[in-house]
Point group: D2
Chain length 477, copies 4
């Protein structure tokens, strides 16, 4: 098969998976008002690899390295900086082209690439083969995947084995010749209900006594014992909004409960090798932060655009302190872009796999997470209080008050009141809505907290080199 | 009368006022799902002045300075720091006691106090009498007021008289012996639809050629020609939320359109005296920022409490970087409290009226506005990603998945999963919801932008004194 | 005696004390080029209490609470907010009036006030009497004191008893009926060589096993076994500088070595009561941070003045981004002033002693320390690169090149080139000199590091109150 | 010749140039205590191109593009990203290898490269030839150059032609067939007294009426009418310092006065083409900021090393808040390195000349300037108060007190007290000395102020692209 159509993808989700949202069990997720939108968002990724535009198609697909048949480019394991440059470009373009984050393969391949690195370092043939076979399987069937990493964690100050119960971290509860049985729950799993396959990776380093928690594997989404409990999303456009012509884009995060789930041997990538749990968690984090900094570039560009537009519409484009703020806004966006490109162009090789530069990727992630709220503040500041109190589309359409709004809500005479209101509504979605608050939180927490990035920066920075230079300057032998 | 009951207040709002929300005209605003909640929030202020608890009643009422009859304490024009200390205490307590901002008199008296200062400086008897008579009228009838200050402004880089049309700033369009006729629209007017009286103040300094824009007056909310167009609020609790037992508190902002509204002479406080427009705008801003810093103290305390609680519930209370963040959170709150008290204790006298210290009030406002987003980030950081993806109350109540949630969403063993979920939902309302995003914007824009505060800090700070000291140090005569 | 003259003070320093600076032993410190300047700076404090201006004299002296005789006001143990308001005023005025920090009694009384609080809490009569007698002694003889608090500490990650040797923290090495013998070294001790008496306080909390380290006492500066090793200061004005007419002001820090120093019983304020070591360190810190925030107000005012002046001299007074920076500069200074006053006006009573509000004092200290470098940056930014590369006074006075400098180094035509150069030199001293770098370091480290202030903010802030409020909002019983 | 020796270079400076420092005229600058050190620092650049190590020699020299003869690599006009990567590497290595900034050709070629770009854009053959001939001349004679850009500016709010006198900006006062005569003064000119040639470039955009100010040219340092007035530097090591074995490295900035200096026609690169003054100033700024971000990388690395070392020596290497600060320190350094490399790897082509990416170069410059003070604060915080009060080398060598210092100033038992003191002294030079304060100022002002960088970021960032994306999201056609 190699490249599936949107319809084939959707059909594959009607597989009996057990999904709950807002307290209700969902039959066909593709038909659910919220989950359907999430499916549609992921489906755009399939549309891109079937694009009639050859430039697009050639970006989103690539020849299978051995057979030469077209496969989705996410399934190309990066071997050099060129592969990483194409990967970041693909992620950035997917958002520009679809208006959403069609995350059907990004995070899954972040996991899988990390699994390859670790299997290589462990030197265990079986795991290497399992990973390779799994890759061939998803390539051939063009599957959507999610990456299940974060455990629910219980008391954050306690190790997995010291908790009230042993299940706060996902672990092996049984093993036999055919496979293993696992129990636990993974949380915050992006686009999980819209995936075909779930890839599990440990959430952190495990110790010797926690070997049962050092486990990685892949299972289909409709495997027995698996339940998805989803966050409620925004749902469709309402008649109160000015909005563009296409449906809103959104992904749905879920908590995935593994209630004694059986995993066959050949789907296992780690099974007790606690010494490598750290490397797996760490390498996944690097790949995943690289994905994150990639998708954030267009996300923050469009936000920056709202500020540029509103400054213009409000007649403030030439005002000194507004220009100063626009420079800060542009600096935030472009520093992110420059670092993202730099992480791709300066990879670290693990065997024959090119890992995005971990130091730069972590600095880029910390840049966007640490300064995002300030960026949002600048946009809110430029847009004005109207973000908070704007009338809605049905006010506009009510003839009783339409003329008042038309008359009084104009800005610079160069633009129509209606365009100004449309831009206000776009800006609202981005910096004054439930979604915008949600994104503040995910900016801080998705792909690891800022504390995690600082830890990795400290681990990767050349402190020894600094020290040697300082000793030289001090005259210390 | 002096002190009205909640019922008397509500009854007074059924007066034929013209109110629109979400595109629809509202008959009885007290019965509307959103506006009714807003009315209920303001009504709490009336409940406080009728409190059976004498300590509360004595804080929220005061003897009329001449007759000795009880009136609402907001109607006491401040004469000394003690009055201001009681005013800030009253505002802070009102929020603690009701869970909301019962803003029926705060902003109106901010306007009125400023009008008194300016009438005094102008030396115009008539305005002084008008203001005094109006004060007696609202005292006697215990009226709720809103302060209508911000004009819609059109192109922000242009003066009122250079705009596409003359109405972007409210102005006098006709005058006769009996009064004046005004046209324009005021925007972002807090709790406007729940007010009995609207007090209008110029939004900025006006020049000589803009004398028609230098206008201040008060009119009843049901005056002919007035239309309220309201922002949509959150509405009532939903079955998806964990929440406390009382209804949600909320105020409703409105745009107020003045479509050739007649104002009788004795309701006018400024009418063309453009030279004093600056003083009026400036003095109002000082009083109003003092109100703002007062109500923000308990607002941010409860937010800080969510961080303290979630650190505890997540088992992170002793972790170094979490404690560091809690210290930053506490420092933000307590610096605000200290500056707010200092502004009350160190007033500036204009004639016999005590104005809260303008320098300190502006620094306090800039403190909370400038650092609010960082404060929110710290809370989001401590609370964790669960803020964004938490299951809802109906998930919890669905027996199919309840046990999973109970089992997996526990934190520190000292607390129940249900309490942790309740706290997560409270934290969501405060830092991960449409309301929280709305508050980010109002924090930046309500009571003037940060640029406005910087301007006033520069105007009020003793730059000359600094200069003299520096010249001394430089040896310059 | 009560009030000594400058000469009496200077004479008292010729007492055989053992002082080293720049590798050399100093005979008469009053005659040493650097130390003499330091003595002169401290001596200004004596000049103030002998001032012919009654307003000054009445600020710097006060009637002895029992005898009514005039004593230095530093020797008034604060009983209420009024005393603290006068204390901060006195400190601030001393700098304005003398151009330096005449620290002869500030820190010593910070120690002594803390000793009173702790003696009260311990309930040990003997210590209370000792402290009281010592106070009467210094009152009567009008002595200059230094406060010796910070131990050298060795390996900062180890407790006093785990170090390579036991002397990294000052401790008792012998005790007998007459007194105790102590060993150790105190470091960074401000104006130590210019003091008559040294008061020692523990540098931190001590544990039960470290009881010998829980020691507090006072000894004369010329006590046998005491050596001062001083930092080199800037010395006098050079011919290369433009400068004012008075000598430069400066204090000299010293390391004080206690080489088996005998302390008589009646000079001891703590001797093994490790349980109270924390309270003593903590209360001293509060008093001392209050002193710090007081002296910083005029220090940063004069720095701010250089920015105001240079903006003017460079013709930039009306430029938007410069005004924005001046607003930030003023906000920094005035927030410090407001918090300092607030700490005085809202004290905490320990028995009958008024301790400056610890929460506010720590926030104020953290404010000035945490934002000082940014403040310096703003001043450097406004002043311009000429700070770094300015010609010196002897260039100016060389007729070969004088006219070039006169012609080319003018700024705004309103000011002479010479005045501009004088201001540049003043600004250099404040933000581009060895002294300015020194002050950056002391701003961070003097009166405790920022980490120490955060710890105290966390300890003093009403976290419980926040928590209760959050639980109310969450509906948790 | 092509590559000169250190001695040839020094000899060439004894050419009768007119140099003043500290009010005195200097005969032979190579023999002057301060200027000689500056010459020695620049001379290291000549040593590098004569290095016996072929790797070094091959980095610092390159074959002449036409003749193939070795020339200094600075004289290679960049044609592609590879050339820029080598240029930044060369700058960085020069500092690592010599401990100083051997700035004999960096800034001069920044000017010359900009002159090439502008000559190309103007399409004036004569200027292109002049620039090329000059390049061949400096290549052949291996000359040291300085770039004279910043005018003294007078009243910063006034245009060149509105000033008190016309000379605040350098300008043409006469022209004839042979050449032009110029008057004015350039200030802050790095390593000017140690240069053979001075290249002049306009300090800013000029208008039509200011055509005489649009002038660029090169003249030898001993040209009649030129006077250098130098800043005083630190001079040699003193016996009070612990220091490494080599002499201190330092450059000397000078004000260069042009007192009716004649410039022959063939040395002129711009003469009245005010329309291109902006491009010249702007292109120079880009090249020069690229030089700046390059030399800052090793400069801040060694500073970071002091923090790493002192954390270790103080026993604080594992403490949470110290590690957090070290992560911030490393993040500052490595973000700078990553952006610097990115600016080299992603150049903008002007004709056949590769200009470092202007957007990234400006962001990198703003990064290091805007956050430098915070970086310094972190280092000061980690190093401790001992930075301010450390005893000096002669204290250490005085046997009276040596043992005290040895005993009491140890830190972690793993290191000797002497090494700790050496490191303290190195850290002092970097963050607590006149030099460190000087570097704060140059960080802010050298290579243009932060306001200048913001302006260029705004000019270079793709604001239009953001706007189009936002309009798409808003549904605006």
């Amino acid at each position: 098969m190699g490249i599936r159509t949107v319809e084939q993808y959707k059909e594959s989700l009607r597989d009996g998976r057990r999904v709950y949202i807002r307290g209700e069990k969902v039959g066909d997720i593709t038909a659910h008002p919220t989950l359907g939108m999430s499916v549609e968002t992921v489906a755009q990724g399939f549309a891109l690899s079937n694009s009639p535009d050859p430039e697009v198609r050639n970006l989103f697909t690539a020849p299978h390295p051995e057979t030469g048949e077209p496969v989705n480019r996410y399934f190309i394991t990066p071997r050099n900086s060129e592969d990483l440059v194409l990967r970041t470009k693909m992620i950035q373009r997917s958002i520009e082209l679809t208006g959403g984050l069609p995350f059907g393969k990004d995070i899954g391949t972040d996991c899988l690439n990390a699994a390859f690195v670790v299997a290589g370092q462990m030197g265990k043939k079986q795991y290497q083969e399992n990973a390779l076979n799994f890759l061939e399987y998803v390539r051939k069937n063009d599957l959507a995947m999610c990456g299940a990493v974060t455990c629910v964690k219980g008391d954050r100050s306690k190790e997995p084995s010291q908790q009230k119960h042993p299940d706060y971290y996902l672990h092996i509860v049984d093993r036999n010749q055919d496979g293993i049985v696992v129990k636990g729950a993974k949380i915050h799993i992006t686009s999980a209900p819209a995936a075909n396959e779930i890839i599990v990776v440990p959430t952190r380093q495990m110790r010797e006594s926690e070997a049962d928690y050092a486990v990685s594997f892949a299972v289909p989404a409709n495997t027995k014992g698996i339940t998805f409990i989803c966050r409620a999303g925004r749902g469709n456009w309402t008649p109160h909004e000015f909005h563009p012509d296409h449906p809103p884009r959104e992904l749905t995060e879920a908590m995935i409960v593994f209630d004694n789930v059986f995993v066959p041997r050949d789907r296992v990538f780690m099974c007790g090798e606690w010494q490598f749990s750290m490397l797996l968690a760490y390498t996944f984090a690097t790949f995943h932060r690289f994905t994150a900094i990639s998708y954030k570039v267009p996300s923050v560009e469009v936000m920056a655009g709202c500020a540029v537009a509103m400054a213009e519409y409000n007649g403030l484009g030439k005002v000194g302190h507004i220009r100063d703020k626009l420079a800060d806004i542009a600096g935030y966006v472009e520093t992110l872009r420059a670092l993202t490109n730099a992480a791709a162009k300066d990879p670290v090789m693990y065997g024959d796999i090119a890992v995005p530069n971990p130091l730069i990727a972590n600095m880029a992630k910390l840049h966007f997470a640490g300064k995002y709220h300030e960026f949002v503040k600048l946009i809110q500041d430029i847009c004005g209080g109207i973000l908070a109190t704007s009338p809605d589309r049905q006010d506009w359409e009510n003839p009783d008050i339409h003329d008042y709004l038309e008359h009084y809500l104009g800005g610079s005479a160069k633009y129509s009141t209606e365009d100004r209101l449309k831009m206000i509504h776009a800006a609202q979605r981005m910096v004054c809505s439930h979604e915008s608050a949600f994104h503040e939180v995910t900016t801080v927490h998705a792909e690891g907290s800022m504390a995690a990035q600082k830890m990795m920066i400290l681990a990767e920075a050349p402190l020894k080199r600094y020290l040697v230079m300082a000793k030289g300057a001090a005259g210390i032998k």
